[in-house]
């Protein structure tokens, strides 16, 4: 059952997470865990439900800032790239590092192959040379071609593979991403061309020129593989529709190549390219002409989100896929450095320059009809026309109130309903969806004082989210009694939406009065929202005792 009010896009900052200085974030496939790479080389895994730290991945060999974080599809592995040119593969459950590879250049981005559950291949985009496929077991790298000139000139000699053939491109990073199942890599080069490359041999199979030919900064595939997004230096985000079949991409490409064999190399690549991708939409801000940063799709591909790359502002633009700008989220005045949309919920997470992770969610308006099922919410006033017999003493229509439910119908209590958001059910056996939570011990002498119980936490928990409140009716005062440390942190709270709680309280006071209840109960209900010290053991202890 879904919350009917969720399913759109976020609107306000719900909470923030602080732990060290976080740089790069990634959700696991189900959105239950959020991994964040930090400035000190460690990677923190947050339990997204409790907003607490579930695990820390840290090793003495890496103390340079993390440049990117990537989960394997089944959630068992995390690949981390760092500024010391290394790639580290971690086993999430045990928190142990599986392997570490040092490249020739710092990889700005590293992505695990999405097709398998224990991927050994990854795609790394180094600082200033061609993206490469790295075999994590052997350390072998296969560079991908980034320019079709290389091909039409019968390719450079193997020795120059790691250098870009075109001198102009050698100092700008090239963007690349895997297709949904990983058999292809989409590369966006500095000439504004999208190259479709077979990941096994690094050879270009198709080329799509982007109008304007600007350097491509980011290239991202939507989760369902149907759309591709490019972010170019000309400040435009472009959405392409993927025309290839998702499962047999390579074969379809080969077929196309066969059929167009009579053309010369470049013409053929362009022709095949036109059958792979077609330009769908362009997004730009015509007024401010802002550069974009970290653009990505929402989990269902319905929304596109991009951060403003302008210094000193933390702005997130949300468009629907058709191109309408639906929202601009404005955060505190700290530049945005990374962005991620939750895989299934309308939540966006952004990282600011000073290392804080902000969680943006929908601004919740209370669904009153959920509390009182006899009532139905109306958008606006409706004229009510009485029924003919409405005021009769015994209205006809109210007589037979028998339920038309057949009690003899079979009821199925064991069949599992598949979640449509996760179509690859074959993964679910080995999938890691959550990390087991081990409660941290209270110190013996302080077990009866609840103030202490939170400050007794292990360090990592202290740096967890100090505020677990949400905007809305559940924004309760329960944390206000906690230790002074957390009260001081209250000064840092920025743009927390407080208004709804007052409004909500008023409305609740009016609406949740049930006709059959005495005024005592509705008063105590309101009291419990505002003031914790309700309840005087009013009710007799009839049940736990004889």
């Amino acid at each position: 059952m879904e919350d009917p009010l969720q399913g759109d896009f976020p609107e306000v900052i719900e909470e923030y997470l602080a732990h060290g200085c976080m740089k790069s974030i990634a959700f696991n496939r189900r959105g239950t865990l959020l991994a964040a790479g930090c400035n000190d080389g460690s990677c923190v895994i947050w339990d997204f439900e409790t907003r607490g730290i579930a695990k820390e991945l840290r090793d003495s060999e890496c103390s340079s800032p993390i440049t990117s974080v990537c989960w394997s599809k089944c959630g068992n592995r995390i690949l981390v790239s760092a500024a010391d040119k290394s790639l580290s593969l971690w086993d999430v459950m045990s928190g142990k590092r599986i392997t570490r590879i040092v490249l020739q250049q710092t990889p700005l981005q590293a992505r695990l192959h999405p097709g398998s559950s224990k991927p050994s291949l990854c795609l790394a985009c180094p600082l200033s040379c061609a993206p490469m496929i790295v075999d994590l077991n052997t350390g072998n790298t296969t560079s991908l071609k980034v320019s079709i000139l290389e091909i039409s000139n019968n390719g450079p000699t193997p020795a120059s593979r790691n250098r870009c053939a075109d001198g102009i491109t050698s100092f700008s990073p090239t963007a690349a991403c895997f297709s949904k199942h990983g058999s292809l890599v989409y590369v966006g080069n500095s000439k504004g061309e999208i190259l479709v490359i077979n990941h096994l041999d690094g050879e270009v199979r198709a080329m799509v020129p982007i109008p304007g030919g600007s350097v491509v900064k980011n290239i991202v595939c939507s989760r369902n593989g149907q759309y591709l997004l490019t972010n170019s230096n000309d400040r435009i985000i472009r959405i392409y529709e993927n025309l290839l079949p998702l499962k047999d991409e390579v074969r379809a490409l080969d077929d196309l190549n066969e059929r167009l064999n009579d053309l010369n190399v470049v013409e053929k690549l362009k022709a095949v390219g036109s059958k792979c991708l077609t330009l769908f939409r362009e997004f730009q801000d015509l007024i401010t002409k802002v550069h974009w940063k970290a653009p990505c799709f929402s989990g269902d591909g319905e929304w596109v989100v991009g951060g403003s790359a302008s210094k000193g502002e933390h702005k997130i633009y949300i468009w629907d896929r058709v191109g309408h700008l639906v929202k601009i989220l404005e955060g505190p005045k700290e530049a945005l450095i990374d962005l991620a949309w939750h895989p299934v919920r309308p939540i966006v997470v952004s990282v600011s320059l000073n290392g804080i992770v902000y969680i943006w969610a929908k601004d919740y308006t209370e669904n009153w009809s959920a509390f009182a099922p006899d009532f139905k919410e109306l958008e606006e006033n409706e004229e009510y026309v009485e029924r003919e017999d409405e005021f009769d003493l015994i209205p006809e229509t109210e007589k037979a109130k028998t339920s038309d439910v057949n009690e003899d119908d079979e009821v199925d209590i064991v069949t599992v309903d598949k979640d449509p958001a996760f179509s690859d059910s074959e993964m679910s056996q080995e999938e890691l969806c959550f990390l087991p939570a081990t409660p941290s011990c209270d110190a013996p002498e302080q077990q009866d004082k609840f103030i202490e119980s939170s400050s007794k936490l292990v360090d990592s928990n202290n740096s967890g989210s100090p505020f677990s409140e949400e905007a809305g009716p559940n924004e309760h005062t329960m944390n206000h009694n906690l230790s002074p440390v957390e009260d001081d942190a209250g000064g840092l709270r920025i743009k927390r939406k407080r208004k709804p709680s007052e409004k909500v309280l008023e409305l609740q006071a009016e609406k949740i009065k049930k006709p059959s209840k005495s005024s005592k109960s509705s008063k105590s209900k309101i009291k419990s929202l505002v003031d914790e010290d309700d309840g005087n053991g009013f009710y007799g202890d009839a049940l736990s005792d004889e």
Partner: protein
């Protein structure tokens, strides 16, 4: 009273005594190796199987640990999914987290302002939900013990709380006659279920596998589909007018609904036909809690103060 041709009657196989006052709850762990009971005598006890034989005739439970520390009687308890931890809800307004094998107290969760009446872990066991006489439902972070949410759930004591099998929903029931369903991650109310006459709801529970049904007694035991809000089946014949008696599903050998009763018996009904197939006798006071073993055909029951025992019932093997 068994009328179904395939139904094998249960019979008493063991009685476990030790608690000094009324039992309030009994629960099997999800790995099926432990049984836990809570009592008004302020303690919890666990019992383990002594025999690792697969022959269920020789499966016997023996007392393993006692968990003391609560200052008042305990009303409810729950195992974490990996059976390593127990959480208990008490009249001393706290919840306590215990380490199962050693019996030591790990954590005390404070925040409720009145008796805590019911508690459950979510399937991931990173979160605990509790319901209290202070009319609220609270969601707690297991790792840190922090209260994550306070739901303004009801206008009367909350009698039961449960998570559905993927942990996305919380259901709560209360004396105010309502059952409410909440989104576990946001705390928003999704639905309210109300019976015409508004009688107090004493218990509610989701079935063991993900589906849209749950069980709730409003003096009669109702099975309802919470997505549509329809009441589907009623199970009657037992007596339940004073106490909050738990009921559960038995799915190990055919599908049944099992519930305790104030006439000191345990009632078994066939899930689909609603026919009562057996009444188990043996307790000398109201049977206030029942639990079904996850894999064996075994029922555990606990009764109030005149009785103070936990009884184990198994089906005869042919």
């Amino acid at each position: 009273m068994s009328t179904a041709t395939e139904f094998k009657p249960y019979s008493l196989s063991q009685t476990l005594s030790g608690h000094k006052r009324a039992i309030s709850a009994v629960k099997f762990s999800s790995n099926g190796r432990l049984l836990a009971s809570s009592s008004a005598d302020k303690s919890l006890r666990t019992y383990g199987f002594t025999n690792s034989d697969s022959d269920s005739d020789s499966l016997a439970l023996s007392p393993m640990q006692e968990y003391t520390g609560h200052e008042q009687g305990v009303s409810d308890l729950a195992f974490s999914s990996d059976s390593r931890f127990l959480v208990s809800a008490s009249d001393d307004k706290t919840l306590r987290l215990w380490d199962v094998p050693t019996g030591s107290l790990i954590k005390t969760l404070q925040g409720h302002t009145n008796y805590v009446f019911c508690v459950n872990f979510n399937p991931q066991s990173n979160v605990i939900v509790s319901g209290s006489f202070d009319e609220t439902v609270r969601v707690w972070d297991v790792k840190s013990g922090k209260c994550l949410k306070v739901l303004p759930a009801h206008s009367d004591p909350v009698t039961a709380v449960d998570f559905n099998r993927d942990g996305s929903l919380i259901v709560s029931s209360s004396y105010d006659g309502l059952c409410r369903i909440w989104d576990a991650s946001t705390g928003h109310c999704m639905k309210t279920l109300i019976d015409d006459e508004n009688p107090p709801v004493s218990f509610v529970k989701f079935p063991p596998t993900p589906s849209s049904f749950s069980l709730a007694p409003w003096t009669t035991l109702w099975l309802w589909n919470y997505s549509t809000g329809e009441f589907l089946k009623a199970y009657t014949g037992h007596v339940n007018s004073k106490y909050c008696i738990s009921s559960t599903f038995s799915i190990t050998n055919g599908k049944y609904v099992v519930g305790g009763s104030e006439d000191n018996r345990i009632y078994l009904w066939e899930l689909q036909t609603r026919k009562m197939v057996q009444k188990l006798e043996g307790h000398s006071d109201t049977v206030v809690s029942v639990s079904c073993h996850p894999t064996e055909n075994m029922i555990a029951s606990g009764a109030l103060g005149n009785d103070k025992t936990v009884k184990i019932w198994t089906q005869q093997k042919d």
